[in-house]
């Protein structure tokens, strides 16, 4: 769509804007974590305190501030999402571009691989790989990225197919623009929208995957991620305990949901702004 109207129509979609706002809040939480609160480490004596002015989200079983954990967890979640997105993008975008643009054996080979990977049950595979590579947050992020690329590649491929049918690609070939320029300038510029939308979705699902893996005990327990906080809470029985230290799991769970919702909203906001077809 058109450059100016994109921003306009995005702003008009209030949900997308809300998502963007939420994403910005979480990103700044993550980036500014050191300024917002001290890294929660060691132990404290004020164990399992409910939310108060001093501890906004209460404290956990080690007497550590849960607000600080959530803030630093945001940093990890962003890191995981970002690394996963990078990995997915580095593999998925070129794979999609090539399979969409090159019609020959290479194209259909890559397409076949994408197809197969899309069919695989991703989370079980992720569990297997995560169990094998061991628990480091970067490993987990890379694994998530490695399994997120097929959907990105598929979106890239479909968009590339559509765009490369368009005459300006042929026109560019005709006036002697090199294939590389065509692929990475002419086509990429035009499929940036749907690719971006998919990237935000990968950002969202990456956090779900990381939390899931951490919850299953395949995460990195030495890093504060939302999944780890939940895992600790679950292990300590905080979820079903009576009386219940609900703050231990509630805020973290909420942040996972908010994070995912915000990225999903952002994605669909961008999507709506890019495809005004929903307006009739």
């Amino acid at each position: 769509m058109q450059n100016r109207t994109f921003v306009e129509s995005f702003v008009k979609k209030r949900l997308g804007l809300f998502g963007l706002l939420g994403v910005l809040v979480i990103v700044s939480l993550g980036l500014l974590a050191p300024l917002i609160s001290a890294y929660p480490k060691g132990y404290g004596t004020e164990i399992l305190l409910p939310p108060s002015e001093k501890f906004w989200f209460g404290t956990d079983g080690l007497g550590l501030d849960l607000f600080a954990q959530v803030v630093w967890g945001a940093r990890t979640s962003l890191y995981v999402s970002f690394v996963a997105v990078m990995v997915a993008a580095v593999i998925g975008i070129p794979a999609g571009l090539i399979s969409g643009y090159k019609k020959g054996l290479l194209g259909s080979l890559i397409d076949g691989i994408i197809d197969i990977f899309l069919t695989l049950p991703v989370l079980p595979l992720m569990i297997v790989i995560a169990a094998v590579v061991g628990s480091s947050i970067t490993n987990v992020a890379v694994v998530i990225g490695l399994l997120a690329w097929p959907s990105l590649a598929r979106v890239t491929r479909n968009s590339t197919l559509k765009v490369s049918e368009l005459q300006f690609i042929e026109a560019a070939r005709c006036v002697g623009i090199s294939p590389r320029m065509i692929l990475f300038k002419h086509i990429l510029l035009n499929i940036a929208g749907p690719v971006l939308v998919n990237l935000t979705l990968v950002m969202a699902t990456a956090v779900l995957s990381e939390s899931g893996l951490s919850f299953l005990g395949l995460g990195d327990p030495t890093t504060w991620s939302w999944g780890t906080i939940l895992k600790k809470a679950w292990d300590a029985g905080a979820v079903i305990d009576t009386p219940n230290p609900w703050w231990w799991w509630f805020f973290t769970s909420s942040f996972i949901m908010i994070y995912v919702i915000c990225f999903n909203l952002l994605g669909s906001g961008i999507n709506d702004a890019l495809n005004p077809k929903t307006r009739d």
Partner: protein, 324 residues
Amino acid sequence: MPKLLEFRNFSMGFKDDDGTVHNLLNNVTFDIEEGRAVGIVGESGCGKSVTNLSVMRLLPRSAVIQGGKIIYRGQNLLKKTDKEMEDIRGKDVAMIFQEPMTSLNPVLNIGFQIGEVLKKHRPDMNEEQIKNAVTNQLELVGIPSPEKRLKQYPHQFSGGMRQRVMIAMATICQPDLLIADEPTTALDVTIQAQVLDIMNRLKDKGSLMLVTHNLGVVAEICNDVVVMYAGTVVEKGSMDEIFDNPCHPYTKGLMAAIPTLSSGKEELYSIPGTVPLSNKFSAGCRFADRCSQYFDLCQDKVPPTRQLSASHYVQCWLDFERRE
């Protein structure tokens, strides 16, 4: 001759995202007399298709009717209930669409899709009768071995054949008014000839409202012509009047700009600029900024509609010779 359909100062527009309504059709007024074929001519963006859909009341959701009437056999269609409209559609007024590729449902066989019209409007007919009627209708529009074709799906038909199916579907209830929206635009010339031939044979059974940008097609089929520009009727009259004595600068320009088999090699007349978008219409004559005979008044005030003969009208500030 009795009037079958009358557009009376019909105005409508489209709502954009902000809810602002941009006027497209402005005071559209013309008649279709019984048994006559009217061609509505204009370039893209002049509101031809919207005019069609307004008759059928099948406008998209963002369309807003701003005023006027569409009178069919003395009754304002805009005032009909949905239920009443359903009874009119397909039976009294039927429509052929531009894209035969997309206008047929890909997952239903064409026997069903044609028979459906009868199922709706002829409750007296049983399955067997419907099937026979459909077979006959397919034969009528020149589809070979119709018995076999009934069971087939749209993707098994060629473009020309699909348009024949569309025609069969639209005419099976013998509607009083057949609306055809660019029925041959998507077709090859030799196929277009076939379809025009069929339409010529069928048009005598009722009235025809043919929308097209192809003046040749109009000349081939129509009795009357309505020339539209940017949502306004700039000129209307009988075919001879419009083709032999075009008055409006736009009509004249249009005629002169088209190379024909009989035209020579001299430079073509061309109208400068392009049809404006609906949110950029000028307050006065919408053709003003492209007009070769433009003067100040054109820009500011909507020109009057002048009657040049019993059937010939033109909406323009210029003075024309009235003849009978």
